[in-house]
């Protein structure tokens, strides 16, 4: 039985290939570039193969525009802090994570920008009809969290980009990559941030940033690239402009293993949706999920009505071994939007390794807890 329901924090277990490729790198060694012996060649080749795999996953032919970072947070900071703001205004979706809100607040404190929130429905889905009246050309940048890490709502990214026109869009794909279709070229996405350790089921410490137009950003980190070394200036070409310092090669090998493992989801989507329907009937537990199942990812939350979120999370672990995360999930804005601030919720996030039996067990435990009250 797999009772780990905190895959939105970080996925577990990993596909066995993650360990295989990490071990391969540990036994082989070699840095990225910066030398010309075989170890370096093999390591550099694997890094580039992984870059290509990521470009396929997010749907772009621009593989040089995929930049390795250390997680989504460093990718998001690269855009938010490297962007050349002319209007000083940023528009964000209502379910943003602190990986977006905190760098924005930092810039706001410095007097660089102000930020506004897109109109939304009760589940935080961007309200495309109410948004129509917004003058998007008043904004430098629009930032959208593709999939909420609180209630699993998937935003209609392509419609949002169509609506905002030429204003650049930064997509936070931390929770969607590896789970939900992403087509950055077809949708004309300008920037995309992702992390390896969640839906892609890779190791921690690796992320990536897609940048369509690299002239629009200044580098966030300056340092050695193994190229143009005679100059104190950062190179202008990609990916080097945004890849100073030795990348997490060990992690990139693990990510290569995770992606090539091509893990299939073991539970059925119908079982998951019927789990949500059953949970919605419980009197003492309030379900937080998408209003329309078409916009639902494999994450949802519960707000207990007669006990605290920490008590429910603790009881689930102590009585049944179910691992969840209670509180604000680094997303105070999302909880404000959903009316669950400041206590937060208990969050359940699935893995492809869960089975229908695991979901049934989870439902039975929650039903039992609901009845105790």
């Amino acid at each position: 039985m797999n009772l780990y329901f905190d895959n939105s924090a970080t996925s577990f277990p990993k596909p066995p290939e993650v360990e295989i490729y990490i071990r391969e790198y540990l036994l082989q060694g070699g840095t990225y570039g910066r030398g010309a012996y075989n170890r370096v060649f093999l390591a550099s080749k694997r890094v580039e193969e992984t870059r290509n795999l990521i470009s396929n996953i997010i749907g772009t032919g621009l593989n040089s525009n995929i930049l390795f970072t250390f997680n989504s947070t460093s990718a998001l900071n690269t855009v938010i802090k490297g962007f050349n703001y002319k209007k000083g205004r940023v528009l964000i979706s209502p379910l943003e994570h602190n990986a977006v809100c905190r760098p924005l607040q930092h810039l706001k404190n410095l007097g660089v920008i102000e930020f506004d929130i897109l109109p939304h429905c009760s589940d935080g889905l961007v309200d495309l009809i109410s948004s129509k009246s917004i003058e998007f050309d008043q904004y430098d940048l629009v930032i959208v969290n593709h999939t909420s890490n609180v209630n699993g709502v998937i935003q209609p990214v392509s419609e949002i980009k169509e609506m905002i026109g030429s204003t650049p869009l930064l997509l936070d794909a931390s929770q969607s990559v590896g789970k939900t279709e992403i087509r950055v070229d077809d949708w004309s996405i300008d920037y995309l941030a992702l992390t390896a350790h969640k839906g892609l089921m890779g190791p921690t410490g690796v992320g990536a940033l897609f940048v369509r137009n690299s002239d629009s950003l200044s580098p966030f980190i300056h340092g050695g690239t193994g190229s143009l070394s005679e100059s104190f200036e950062m190179p202008e070409h990609l990916p080097d402009k945004f890849e100073a310092g030795t990348p997490n090669i060990l992690g990139i090998y693990g990510l290569y293993g995770a992606i090539t493992a091509n893990t299939e989801r073991q539970y059925s989507w119908t079982s998951f949706i019927s789990l949500l329907k059953e949970l919605n009937k419980l009197r003492n537990l309030k379900l937080l999920a998408a209003n329309n199942a078409d916009y639902q990812s494999d994450v949802f939350s519960i707000k207990p009505l007669v006990q605290s979120v920490s008590d429910l999370s603790r009881v689930l672990y102590q009585n049944y071994g179910i691992e969840t995360r209670s509180g604000l999930h680094c997303s105070p804005l999302a909880h404000q939007t959903l009316g669950t601030f400041p206590d937060g919720t208990v969050r359940f996030s699935l893995s492809k390794y869960h089975t229908d039996n695991d979901l049934e067990f989870l439902l039975n435990c929650l039903v039992k807890e609901n009845e105790k009250r």
Binding site: A36, E48, S64
Partner: protein, 75 residues
């Protein structure tokens, strides 16, 4: 006996370009070797690709199809 083969060296902007080019050249079936960038030419990056001079123009035009434009020096 001194070899009368002549070599060209392809120099790239970044390791990313070296790896893309290597992938293309290896599929082409031409002989090549990954070598350290000779310091007399550049400090550009750790690796460059040495090829038989005879193959230079065909390899260059193949790389151009992928928007890869290395600097070529004869040895």
């Amino acid at each position: 006996m001194k070899s009368d083969r002549e070599f060209s060296i392809l120099l790239f902007q970044s390791i990313h370009q070296v790896m893309r080019a290597e992938n293309i050249i290896s599929k082409n079936g031409c002989n090549y070797q990954i070598i350290p960038v000779p310091s007399e030419y550049s400090s550009e990056c750790g690796m460059c690709i040495e090829i038989d001079s005879l193959n230079t123009s065909s390899i260059i035009s193949e790389l151009q199809k992928y928007n890869i434009e290395p600097k070529v020096v004869k040895r």
